[in-house]
């Protein structure tokens, strides 16, 4: 069952059209991530769902209740949408203690004092802030403040939580730790989470399903993290999900030749179209590097030692690609190349793109 249904939503700020005819549904109980580059309008969409902004056109349903429909003059105010929202800048009220912050939604709801105390205590313990109830936000670290914000969003037991880049302002270690905690909480409490982020790693790590949005606010692909990573719908998605190589390939009869030279691409699955120019897309980790044997002959143009990894830039007849392999594996297999040495390249995995469609990637 869908908890959020967004139908044909449009939103513009002055002359800037952020969304046009956007449709999306989110299922009850899932952790759904909206992934896209900054400025693509994903936060706007979240704010439209929360009711902080009003639609220009379209309809939004939450739990089968029509909450926004400009044509019918319906725009439910944020306080009557029964959501939990967590903001990027925490938005913890600086003049209230941790307890005061978390208790506020329950106070507004008119919960009895004894129930309020026990529920606030429970929620504070749930996010791991037990013992800090009397602290003011200024006496907390960034991570602790974000936990307060989480607790405040959870305490009224909303069926839906909206999280707007909640981890962006935290340092790397804390971010990693918190993303698992958020996932854990979502599973334990069985609530639906809509998570907005530009970080594909977080999206892959926590999502049940996710949607990738491009710079113009269009949704390019919706699906499970595995689908999106392994079977990207288009070059944009492929590129957005991590560093990608795009090598130009010419069709010559039944053969596919790399770059400007005459070497045949060592891959047995030809593309499903008959266009003359193609692009082979692959990730640096999909490249098999060797000193000799079968494969494309190339030259190492740049060798960078990054500690645990070796990173190479390789030129094959005018086409360049990046690859990386673990340093200890490179040492064991005698694959420590110096700049100017020749090498042989093969592939573990490869995705075909029509060269004419690749221009879209540049718009990223």
């Amino acid at each position: 069952m869908d908890i959020i249904r967004i139908e044909g939503v449009a939103k513009a700020y002055g002359r800037l059209q952020v969304h046009r005819d956007l449709t999306l549904s989110i299922r009850k109980g899932e952790c759904f991530t909206l992934l896209g580059p900054s400025g693509c309008g994903k936060t706007v969409l979240l704010r439209l769902i929360a009711g902080f902004e009003s639609l220009d056109a379209g309809r939004i349903y939450i739990d089968d209740t029509l909450v926004s429909d400009p044509r019918a003059g319906i725009n439910l105010s944020p306080d009557s949408r029964n959501l939990g929202v967590v903001f990027q800048d925490y938005a913890v009220w600086p003049h209230m203690t941790v307890f005061g912050n978390v208790a506020y939604p329950l106070k507004l709801a008119g919960v009895t004092p004894s129930e309020l105390n026990s529920r606030v205590g429970e929620t504070i313990a749930l996010v791991g802030l037990g013992g800090l109830e009397k602290r003011l936000p200024s006496e907390l670290s960034g991570g602790q403040q974000q936990r307060v914000a989480l607790a405040r969003a959870l305490v009224a037991k909303p069926s839906l939580m909206l999280l707007d880049e909640p981890l962006t302002n935290l340092d790397a270690n804390l971010r990693e730790e918190m993303r698992f905690e958020i996932k854990e909480l979502q599973r334990k409490l069985g609530i639906t989470v809509l998570y907005v982020t530009p970080d594909q790693e977080i999206a892959l790590a926590i999502s049940d399903r996710m949607a990738v949005m491009d710079g113009q606010g269009r949704i390019r692909q919706t699906g499970g993290p595995w689908d999106i990573f392994e079977r990207p719908a288009d070059p944009f998605v492929f590129n957005f999900m991590g560093i990608a190589n795009f090598v130009p390939v010419r069709r010559q009869g039944g053969d596919f030749l790399v770059g400007g030279g005459g070497q045949r691409l060592p891959w047995n699955h030809p593309p499903g179209g008959d266009a003359p120019d193609w692009v082979a897309g692959f990730r640096p980790s999909d490249v098999v590097l060797a000193r000799g044997g079968e494969g494309l002959r190339g030259v190492v143009r740049r060798a960078s030692f990054l500690g645990a990894m070796m990173d190479y830039l390789i030129d094959i007849d005018g086409a360049s690609l990046r690859t990386s392999l673990e340093t200890h594996a490179a040492l064991a297999d005698r694959l420590m190349f110096a700049e100017g040495e020749s090498c042989v390249v093969g592939f573990r995995n490869l995705i075909w793109f029509d060269a004419r469609r690749l221009g879209e990637v540049a718009k990223r």
Binding site: S77, P78, D79, N82, V92, P94, Y104, L108
Partner: protein, 563 residues
């Protein structure tokens, strides 16, 4: 499928917007519009020729020129003095810099018309203490210096206005990134070159902006010119407006001259504010960061003590001496007696505080008017700022424009405007009551309140309110529980920024007072006019004590709360 209608009565937003616009329209826009209307429309006809005629009259023409002369002199003088002292206390190894910096800010507290009163006692051509001293002991034939002159007026205005430049330049010099100067030094530039090529260009916007502030203030300044100029027939725009209205008890011709002159003041003020915005607008914060740095200090070497003595002498001359004179004269039995123990007592102070109906009324009026204006303006200001800073509603543009108005309307213009608006012509007659002064104070100090409150509101991030809305709070509940507690420091600041200046207000009250509605400023001024010099000085002394006590309390308070 459930359907819930989104409309539930009238929301908070339209009510707040409507109230905000209404307040600004009634309090500020109507008086200003009435002035401009009266200046251009005669007997229901648009008439520009008449304006030229009024401006061509020798008196009005001279007042315009005088305003320009005095404002230019004051601006140049204050800028030089302010910049020099600012540089001295921030960029050199002058001894006791912090103390000196504090002392240079004291003139902010001293009302300039009380300063002018003191200087009149010291340097009036015949009776001034200094002039008499020189004539008696050094055989001077005439006075050493005549304070009733352009030079005298400009000198007194500089003494009390230079802190505007001083504080701006100090701030800029303290926040300037020293690496900018260091890198010039590494490139081989000498200190003089660095100062000329790097430091001064970087702080130039601050100097200019402070200078424009003084220009604005001096053009429309009443007190000093009224105290020192009228004797010799030197009028500027505000004093001429006052004199005309006062002499003719509000005749048509005087009102018309007043409105024409006031229109000129409004236009000039608007131009100056626009210019200041331009100067401060472009990228200043890229070079001057918000953090405090430890700037390079120039070693003064042999000049350290001579310059310290210069500072001490300046402070002694401009702050200590006038203040001492006020208190001493306030203690004299009769003006003109020598300052000996037999002639000095606290009797005048007791009389002014406890027995003299006129001054007792004045103190009571000023305190209640100040409190009333401060409370009303504080609440109105927080509401209006909320709309302009936080709300996304249609019609906000009008409010932003109206909100700019109080910044550019000088006191004498406001006074004239409220006379036009509230003396019965439009149904409400407040003339000769305290209420008309209250309305004028609200208009005059609205700018302070808007500034303090919008600064406080900028600090309240939108997401704090949105978080409350998402938690189930209505607009009103979010305002009450989140916004109000967080802007309370800004509101308090606004309160004090209004209450203290209103205790010493003269420009507006002098145009609006009736026999029982004198304020402290009016009492000091009229007592002096009537030749009751010792009573005037005693009243001034009490005013100074009130103001300094209040300011000290506020400084304590703001230090504690970290504001």
């Amino acid at each position: 499928m459930k359907r819930i209608a989104g409309k539930r009565g009238i929301g908070a937003a339209p009510i707040i917007l409507f109230l905000s616009i209404a307040i600004l329209v009634v309090v500020v826009a109507v008086p200003v519009l009435l002035i401009i209307f009266n200046a251009f429309w005669v007997n229901g006809e648009f008439n520009v020729g008449d304006i030229a005629k009024i401006l061509g009259e020798p008196d009005t023409y001279q007042a315009l020129i005088n305003s320009l002369i005095i404002a230019s002199g004051t601006t140049v003088g204050s800028t030089v003095v302010g910049t020099f002292f600012a540089w001295l206390v921030t960029r050199t190894d002058l001894p006791h810099k912090r103390l000196m910096k504090g002392m240079f800010l004291v003139p902010f507290m001293l009302p300039s018309f009380i300063g002018a009163l003191a200087w009149k006692m010291l340097l009036s051509p015949r009776a001034g203490f200094i002039n008499r001293f020189f004539m008696l002991h050094f055989g001077f034939d005439g006075p050493l210096f005549n304070i009733y002159s352009y030079a005298g007026i400009v000198m007194v205005e500089i003494m009390y206005l230079f802190p505007f430049v001083f504080i701006q330049v100090c701030g800029a010099l303290e926040r300037m990134d020293p690496t900018l100067e260091e890198s010039a030094r590494i490139s081989g530039a000498g200190l003089f070159t660095i100062t000329r090529k790097i430091t001064i260009p970087l702080v130039a916007p601050s100097i200019l902006s402070g200078a424009l502030l003084i220009m604005l203030y001096s053009m429309a300044h009443f007190g000093t010119v009224a105290m020192l100029g009228i004797e010799n027939g030197i009028f500027n725009i505000p004093t001429l407006i006052y004199q005309r209205i006062h002499q003719s008890a509000g005749s048509f011709a005087s009102i018309r001259t007043g409105t024409v002159l006031a229109t000129i003041l409004v236009v000039t003020a608007a131009f100056i504010i626009w210019l200041q915005g331009k100067i401060l607008g472009g990228g200043r914060y890229q070079i001057i960061a918000g953090k405090s740095f430890r700037p390079m200090e120039l070693k003064l070497r042999g000049l350290r003590f001579p310059l310290l003595i210069l500072c001490v002498a300046y402070i002694g001359f401009t702050i200590v001496l006038p203040t001492a004179v006020i208190f001493l004269v306030g203690g004299l039995k009769t003006y003109g007696l020598a300052f000996t123990w037999e002639n000095l007592s606290l009797d005048n102070y007791k009389f002014v505080l406890f027995d003299y109906q006129l001054t007792k009324d004045a103190i009571w009026n000023s305190v209640t008017l100040g409190l009333g204006a401060a409370v009303i303006t504080m609440f109105a200001g927080v509401m209006i700022s909320y709309v302009t800073v936080k709300m996304k509603v249609r019609g906000k543009g009008i409010l932003e424009f109206l909100g700019m108005l109080p910044f550019s309307v000088p006191g004498s213009v406001i006074a004239l405007g409220v006379i036009l608006a509230w003396s019965g012509k439009y149904g409400v007659n407040l003339y000769n009551t305290v209420w008309i002064i209250l309305v004028a104070y609200i208009a005059r100090y609205m700018a302070f309140s808007l500034k303090a409150n919008s600064a406080a509101l900028e600090q309240v991030h939108d997401s704090l309110v949105e978080a409350a809305r998402a938690c189930g709070a209505s607009m009103w509940q979010a305002l009450r529980d989140i916004v109000l507690p967080l802007v309370r420091p800004g509101m308090l600041a606004a309160f004090f920024l209004i209450f203290l200046p209103s205790l010493r207000e003269l420009t507006v009250s002098i145009m609006l007072y009736a026999p029982t509605t004198r304020t402290i400023g009016v009492a000091i001024y009229t007592l002096n006019e009537d030749g009751e010099t010792v009573m005037s000085a005693a009243m001034a002394g009490i005013a100074l004590i009130l103001i300094i006590t209040g300011q000290t309390l506020i400084n304590r308070f703001t230090e504690k709360t970290g504001g």
